[in-house]
Symmetry: C2
Subunit: 388 residues, 2 copies
């Protein structure tokens, strides 16, 4: 397999973007990435688009073709493929694009993600998201994602020493970071009191434990590493791409407080990159709920089970900590346009490794990791990127 | 890139399968393919699942994880990815699986496709299918797929010498073949009068010009060619995989009677395989409507534009003709469970090349081709397979 590098990135602002359509969101992000990579559209050999549920949010399927068309690539007949894996759709679109370049089948490939969630009302949106869980055994009996993650949080807090304040600190930290990220949906800091006094959603999770409903798109451009310097002075090498599955229903898991798919994907990624945990300078993890960040840090092997709350309280995962987690602001503060999230994570790592992350820059960052989760952990994609 | 071979295939019967759920349909097809390849589940490195719209048909997304789970692979944490490209979803799932094996990233990979369309009523189903067209410029103004293909047929018949009887002969031929295929939804022969006297759907297309609403699943197993003989005495080599896009809306095309994406994908496939049209022994094309088969034969380069009707009338594309087209019965007689169709096409070619096609066997078939279309031609996948 050939080595693969990221040569360009783009990301729209995330938020309630009522004035921009699904297709135009993607075109905006793709255009930024193309400009960043200093290429023209005809150079592109293939597109991969991560999207969870345009079928339910905007009544549209056939997303690959739609995006190729509105990106001006119909006359080139550029292959374009939609990849869906619920909230992990972006991560898997990135992975497919990496494999396509690594194989030698394609050279210049766009990996993007997009979701337009605010064209439907909230109950419809919540039901669309519930399609990421097992409809027959979870959705039909009323389980929603806040409810499922609340079960994880309850189980976790019964077994491990995690305080309400430590859990809240995840959101406080991510809002702090988001306030330094121009694309974030929420660019304001909050306090532990903000979280603890916010409305109860599903006990113990409160409003500020939850990522919001968001519109947005992100895109990155890949090339063979050997050609990367044709396009950029700062290529970022893909050191590992890993993916793992687990049972779709939470109740079928071996342990509902440990995401075994994160453990498996993380192990596979470290093995592929021939790296150890201590080599990672920063991580973007899938904090759809605060408890998810706690589990992710542990399941990726950065500390023992039960220790991530203390680590968060002590500031280890803060912007100036030893292992900054979610420097972008994460799903909590950036927002979570489902299909785009996995690509935005890569965008953030690339920005950091290039030294272009502005007020949230981690000095000297050389190796970063992303962890993108589908559902309650039935799909996980882990990527490791490094300065080339 | 490594050479890739098909080492096992499976296909459920196609039809209105009210007694079988979406997930169990896939498990049935996958189980057949696993048995055919003589492997166990733990051998499988990855799955790719083609599915158009489980989100709209059964309220379920996150299809890759669901299928891995119900295939018993959750404990192996086997990577599983859903690929969507409307009616071309199966074709692109096959292509991604081929790329994954060719790259060296994976060895044993399942490419499957599934659709469960009869859990909703017909208007809902028609609207779900309309999501393959441009919702904003086609769906919202009332265009349905029979309507769009009727426009293609009208334009074609105004410009080229195609008679009503020749068009009907496509369906007559495909029903003849389907009557010899145990998995086909319609296993009975029809006459030209059956087609011409059937209900008008969208002028000039009548009921028997249209493929039906169908439940079904198909799966094939891929391996590096160099390992194929570990599993089977009759590996089938993937000689080419090609894909092309076009505008999603029909009215934006250069020529609505020519599928430029078929032309592009066909040319790419022949170039990759280093073969000529005369080398192909049989073809499975995407006859969602009779006119689509006429266009496909021409756009793949087997005859000049305007000649496919005559070819059909003369029996060239019949089971005993010079270029048998849709020996399986095609979408018309097999039925069209959208996500499964592209994989069923590969299944048919493999069965034929192995000499296992029973009453519809083409003697001595060595090289076969598939053409799978999304929407009105915005996505096309073309594959060429040959005896290894």
């Amino acid at each position: 397999m050939r080595d693969v590098a990221v040569i360009g990135v783009g990301c729209t602002t995330f938020g309630e973007k009522w004035g921009t359509s699904f297709r135009n969101l993607f075109v905006e992000a793709g255009g930024m990435a193309i400009e960043d990579a200093n290429i023209s559209g005809e150079t592109i050999d293939a597109l991969y688009v991560g999207n969870m549920s345009a079928g339910r949010f905007i009544d549209q399927e056939h997303i690959g073709a739609l995006i190729a068309d509105y990106s001006g690539l119909a006359s080139e007949h550029t292959p374009s493929t939609r990849v869906e894996s619920a909230c992990c759709s972006g991560g898997l679109a990135f992975r497919q694009a990496v494999i396509a370049v690594a194989s030698g089948m394609e050279d210049i490939v766009v990996a993007g993600g997009v979701e337009k969630m605010t064209d439907v009302d909230t109950p419809t949106s919540v039901d669309a998201l519930a399609a990421a869980a097992d409809r027959e055994w979870e959705g039909f009996v009323g389980a929603t994602f806040p409810g499922l993650y609340a079960m994880i949080a309850t189980d976790y807090m019964n077994r491990y020493p995690l305080t309400r304040e430590q859990l809240a600190q995840v959101a406080v930290k991510n809002h702090y970071n988001g306030a330094r990220n121009p694309i974030a949906q929420f660019q304001h800091e909050i306090s532990i009191d903000t979280v603890i006094n916010s409305s109860l959603v599903a006990d113990p999770l409160r409003l500020f434990d939850c990522s919001p409903i968001t519109d947005g798109a992100a895109a990155v451009i890949l090339a063979p590493l050997e050609r990367a310097h044709e396009f950029t002075d700062t290529p970022i090498k893909v050191l590992a791409t890993a993916q793992a599955s687990d049972t779709i229903a939470l109740h079928d898991r071996r342990d509902i407080s440990t995401m075994d798919a994160t453990v498996a994907a993380g192990d596979r990624a470290f093995k592929m990159a021939k790296l150890e945990r201590k080599d990672i300078d920063l991580v973007e993890v899938h904090d759809c709920f605060t408890i998810a960040e706690i589990c992710a840090i542990e399941d990726l092997g950065f500390c023992k089970k039960g220790e991530a709350g203390k680590l968060t309280e002590e500031g280890v995962t803060a912007l100036n900590g030893k292992l900054p987690v979610n420097t972008s602001g994460g799903l909590k503060a950036c927002g979570h346009p489902v299909g785009a999230t996995g690509i935005k994570q890569v965008w953030e790592i690339v920005k950091q490794l290039r030294g272009e992350a502005g007020k949230r820059q981690i000095d000297g960052a050389e190796i970063g990791m992303t962890q993108n989760v589908g559902g309650t952990g039935a799909s996980v994609a882990v990527h490791i990127l490094g300065r080339a």
